[in-house]
Symmetry: C2
Subunit: 223 residues, 2 copies
DNA sequence: CCTTAAACTGAACCGTAAGTATAGTTCCCG
DNA sequence: CGGGAACTATACTTACGGTTCAGTTTAAGG
């Protein structure tokens, strides 16, 4: 029973997300979505409780996918090093590479998009978005704290703010990327954030001063 | 002749900006704007070439105001120190303080808002937005290069990316602030960026190692 | 004061978009 | 093969949003 249901429902979600990221939620008409999804209005309203319902479903889906992506990258990073700081730095490298490898059409972040269209997004959506931001923060806090266990932190930036800065770098990078039409900016901002983390944990000292595991981890050339 | 004209036109722009930043451009109807501006539809269309024309005027105005703000802060910072790096750090402090002092209603950035509503924004608007981003980048490149003249730069982040990171920090901070309903996040991200700049220019070394002018410049307590 | 252009009013117009209603059709699962 | 879930097709309501325009008011100069 889920086979058929999911195919149409999922198709709608995929297309809706892509159109909305391009034009914005309010500017996207249901008909726009129907055209690209090979489904009729009846079908749409069968699956979703109107446009507000669609918004909820979209954000839910988006957050799940995002979680999965971060989990995968974390796993990959953990396979490549034992050191917590090293793992974090690799994670950021992998993420930067991923953003650089994206197809020409830069995606954008649903949460960011919805942030500036607070109008009819009901309370559900707003809570989901907060939850998403909090989960990203928590993920980074975990990574940073683990790294902090092994190395002393320099600078006077709180771990929470440093964690939020991860989100800020990505969202800021996406904004630059969208306006200039080049994905490169996202990777650059992620790598800049990475450089900051490195410095904070003292990993930018001469090699002689830091543990063996921290030597030049797969360096990423900058543009 | 400009007296009368400007009063209405300006009133429309002010109200339009505030509503648009709250709900988004597309979700903001002309009627919404009229209600708050004490003017009729005819009056609106007398002043602006429809909604697209309003968008152009809004962004133009926004960029000018932004330029002025940055110029003021730069001037203030230059009055407080001779050292280029010191000036930059003060500038960032002033900006962070300003964001923290804002009225409860967090504003948002028109450029960011329009970034995710690329639909009917004509080419003019898009070019203006790019121009704005480029001018912010250039402003920071100037400041960073001047600072770089006096101190050696550490880390492997290009000046351009570091300059863009200023924008990214602010936009990211605004996004967090909007979602959590607390302006604090903007200041925090600006101060985190400041900490990064400090580290890159080696200003986080023990006092004994750096020029006198760099000692604890008006410290801002973090949350 | 009178003219004239700028500034503005008010109402009408038209497309479009969200949502509803309904009757019928196809597909899959037990 | 029966029945419910997953749709199609079509028509319609309702309302709102952008735009136009003919006419009226305001202010400023000669």
């Amino acid at each position: 029973m889920t086979g058929r249901r999911n195919s149409s429902r999922e198709r709608i979600l995929v297309n809706a997300e892509s159109i909305i990221l391009e034009k914005g939620f309010h500017a996207t008409s249901i008909n726009d979505i129907l055209d690209k999804s090979a489904i009729t209005k009846g079908g749409f309203f069968y699956h979703f409780d109107g446009k507000p319902g669609l918004a909820v479903a979209l954000v839910e889906r988006y957050l799940v996918q995002d979680d999965q992506l971060f989990a995968e990258l974390t796993e990959q990073a953990e396979a490549l090093s034992e050191d917590p700081l090293h793992r974090l730095l690799i994670f950021l490298n992998l993420l930067a590479e991923l953003f650089g490898r994206l197809p020409e059409t830069h995606p954008g972040c649903l949460v960011a998009s919805f942030t500036y269209e607070n109008q009819l997004l009901n309370e559900d959506v707003r809570q989901l978005m907060q939850q998403g931001l909090l989960s990203w923060r928590q993920m980074m806090i975990d990574k940073l704290e683990r790294a902090g266990g092994a190395y002393a932190m320099k600078g006077d930036v709180s771990i929470e703010t440093l964690a939020d800065m991860f989100t800020a770098a990505i969202e800021g990078g996406i904004m630059l990327a969208r306006n200039f039409g080049e994905n490169r900016y996202i990777s650059e901002q992620v790598l800049a954030y990475r450089a900051f983390v490195r410095m904070i944990f003292g990993a930018d000292q001469p090699d002689s001063l830091r543990p063996d595991s921290l030597r030049p981890e797969n360096p990423v050339r900058k543009s």
